[in-house]
Subunit: 224 residues, 2 copies
DNA sequence: TAGCATTTGTGAATGAATTCACAATCGTTA
DNA sequence: TAACGATTGTGAATTCATTCACAAATGCTA
């Protein structure tokens, strides 16, 4: 068989759904299910079976017709696709409200994201211990990122300084950044930047309560 | 002119982008800009001018041809659409890592989201003060939600108990819920539920680093 | 081993979101 | 007040995402 290589564009939504499948498969594995159908998988995340099958089909064929997907095997496969079957070295910058919460979140480590260094510029915080991690001085950013082989940086500093910090982070060679500051950061095109915008979902709820109370999913519009 | 009423479906992405426009307009207002073009507005959030104009056109025509949009006026209009020109009474359930971070976040209040009550079931936390708010006993959930006219509830409890909590919240008549627990919660169809899934964006970065390093936005797929 | 009930994998069809492209309209200037 | 550069608002075209629908496989049973 003459194997050839094709490239397919995978949408962001598909990747996000893979995260959901992965989560469900972890639960199913704990519940000792051997196999799972696209129908069951879909039901558990309020999706359609066709959606599940299409998403998975972008990456291969993991199921057995008439039976479904092998739970553990599929979990491993999706883990491979998402890069979760390994440990990622993560750094956090800004040990304030949200930064502390993230450091204290054990689930991240369980998923393979190990927060190895945390930075701040507050002298009262530098040197102190947060859940076993000593707070580094932001002035040693580049050195400490390199020494700890950091691959992913989480930004949890005030919006006003976020761009400066990101510039330094990029300069240090980091290619993946998760930003919690409510600001649109500029990074070179070879750096992956994702934003976590909590206000957005609150504002969506506000919109929903204001507009969608009756007549779901629609708004009134005056037309003359 | 015989005015009639039409209903148009507004997509979730459009609403999310309105949040971004609102954010930019707040900055522009502080910078004392009088007007802003769709081009400038787009540039500040890495979108296209056509996208901006189309989004706004769903709700009316706010601009002036040849000039652009009046900054303060447009901000007010979007605020009206999103329901941000008022105060929302919010309750938070689960004063742990992430719950404490949210309570300490002043920006929410500035946007009109006032956390009025916080609940926990931990006796050591109940009664204690968090940023001026006394922690309520989860056993008084229904009473305290009603007494404080709560309209939006934020769930920040462990995933294992989230569904039970949400059932009680729904029973108390709440119609809008923001959930931080990594689990797909079941709510009646007249309740708005939004999920904040931080792992998802980390996993997206993990995927990106694993697959997109060279050949942006694509994956290799074996074809025989 | 044949027949049946299931469920996958995937092209084709449909539906939704984005972008294009341009007429309409404004402010400005001479 | 006429001509011009700028920019909106919006149908139409296009691109992208989801759903449909069914042939191809599989396990199971008798
Ligand atoms: N707290 C929340 O729930 C929440 C929610 C959504 C978004 N955010 C965003 O996350 C960011 C942090 O919010 P927060 O509430 O944790 O704020 P915070 O003030 O509690 O924490 C910010 C931390 O960053 C540190 N810092 C400031 N300048 C720095 C610099 N130059 N270098 C290194 N560290 C520096 C501060 O010392 C502080 O420890 C903000 O951008 C905020 O808008 C927070
Ligand atoms: N910490 C993070 O950065 C983070 C990030 C993403 C998601 N989350 C999710 O947010 C939720 C909370 O995470 P956390 O790190 O804050 O956990 P946590 O254990 O620090 O806090 C949970 C809080 O909920 C309270 N609680 C437990 N059961 C309760 C009940 N029945 N009624 C009322 N209160 C109850 C606990 O007493 C505790 O104060 C979890 O579902 C977690 O997966 C957390």
């Amino acid at each position: 068989m003459a194997a050839s290589n094709s490239r397919k564009k995978i949408s962001e939504s598909t990747i996000h759904r893979l995260s959901l499948y992965y989560r469900v498969l972890s639960v199913l594995e704990k519940e000792n299910h051997q196999t799972v159908s696209s129908r069951e998988l879909a039901k558990r995340e309020k999706l359609t079976p066709a959606q599940v099958r299409k998403d998975l089909s972008f990456f291969g064929s993991f199921g057995t017709r008439g039976l479904g997907y092998p739970v553990s095997e599929l979990k491993k496969q999706i883990g491979d696709i998402l890069g979760l079957n390994r440990l990622w070295n993560v750094a956090l910058i800004g040990v304030g409200n949200i930064g502390s919460a993230l450091v204290g979140y054990k689930e991240f480590l369980r998923q393979g994201f190990r927060i190895r260094v945390i930075f701040d510029n507050d002298q009262r915080k530098i040197g102190s211990n947060h859940k076993g991690i000593k707070v580094s001085d932001i002035r040693n950013l580049e050195r400490d990122l390199r020494e700890n082989n950091i691959e992913i940086v989480v930004i949890a500093v005030p919006a006003t300084v976020a761009q400066y910090i990101v510039d330094d982070v990029v300069h240090a060679g980091i290619k993946a950044i998760l930003n919690f500051a409510p600001v649109n950061l500029k990074v070179p095109s070879d750096v992956f930047l994702r934003n976590e915008n909590m206000s957005m979902e609150l504002e969506y709820l506000s919109f929903a309560l204001s507009n969608l109370q009756n007549g779901r999913g629609t708004i009134k519009k005056e037309v003359s």
